[in-house]
Symmetry: C2
Subunit: 200 residues, 2 copies
């Protein structure tokens, strides 16, 4: 039996939803999931190796990648640009890995359009009140920043109609179990395995 192709898993959620905790809990002991590696025009820091945390490119090469549709999504900021290289993702999927992409709703929508079989997961807190409490509890953001984050969260909710799954993070262990279950279930999809039905 040939190695089954992996799935691209896109995860988004407002700042304060607890996304990174949920993801790291879910990936404990799973060797079938890896993170995608982004390209960036940012300069590498002294100990950063190309292809580990990022692929480092200059702005000309970055724009060429955009031009040639080599990126599944990208965002250009004033200082630096970031994107997800299609070739790297495809290579990992072909190796049978599930590739995880942690990006904002706008980038996620680009990926959804370019790879319709990507699995789109949206993680949210149980309520806006709890999100506000969590943001305040961190003690890292100014009042103004917290308000901006809450407005941003509501905008994202309104734009999130293209996601396949919603995880409500009221308990990190439960949310992690749901996240992990989604990856497992998506690997059982008929389309991925139907060839075995005709090989008999």
């Amino acid at each position: 039996m040939a190695k089954q192709r992996g799935k691209l898993i896109v995860i988004s959620g407002p700042s304060g939803a607890g996304k990174s905790t949920v993801v790291s809990k879910a990936l404990e002991g799973r060797s079938d999931v890896c993170f995608s590696v982004s390209v960036t025009t940012r300069k590498p820091r002294p100990n950063e190796v190309d292809g580990k945390a990022y692929f480092f490119v200059d702005l000309d090469r970055f724009r060429e990648m955009v031009e040639n549709d080599e990126l599944l999504e990208h965002a250009e900021y004033v200082a630096n640009s970031y994107g997800t290289p299609r070739a790297y993702v495809e290579k990992k999927l072909d190796e049978g890995m599930n590739v995880l992409l942690d990006i904002e709703v706008q980038g996620a929508r680009q990926v959804h359009e370019k790879m319709p079989d990507a699995v789109m997961i949206f993680i949210i807190p149980p309520s806006m009140e709890i999100l506000e409490q969590r943001l305040r509890g961190r003690g890292t953001d100014s009042e103004r920043k917290i308000e901006a984050r809450l407005i941003r969260a509501k905008q994202e909710y309104a734009e999130a109609d293209f996601y396949d799954y919603i995880i409500i993070n009221d308990d990190a262990d439960k949310a992690a179990a749901e996240f992990s279950a989604i990856i497992t279930a998506e690997n059982c999809k008929y389309e991925l395995r139907k060839n075995i039905l005709s090989e008999v």
Copy 2:
């Protein structure tokens, strides 16, 4: 937050796929899944209670249920008829339970047509050779019966194009984990939870 509606989970697979072992392993410790209760025209045995293993009805009432579209699927045999009562399933789903239906491919297709959001799962052995070994290993079937079962399995494979998921049972624990993951994942579907996004 109102109780989330459950999902109807339909499971099929050839005799010898190990379906019942996989299902019972998967349901260990899950209180959010129950089996559907079929109606039958078969006479109750002395210790059988109506509504437990079966709802017992006479043939007139059974045919009325078919006529009134009260059954999600049904099959009439020479001796007895069996069917899945829609009202019972709907009641359980509304209570937030996931309802499990273990039926053959033909019945599953009827359910799929009547309830398009039912989750369709097909369990198969790793290969026809292994299926044959398992059937022989049981020691319960005649050679003729084994051959008939293998032909039946191949027919079912060819008709199984409407399933959502395929579980390959080469290891019962892994297959059970996949089955359980599918139920969990399906309860995270956007359509079931999207109301929370607009409640903020």
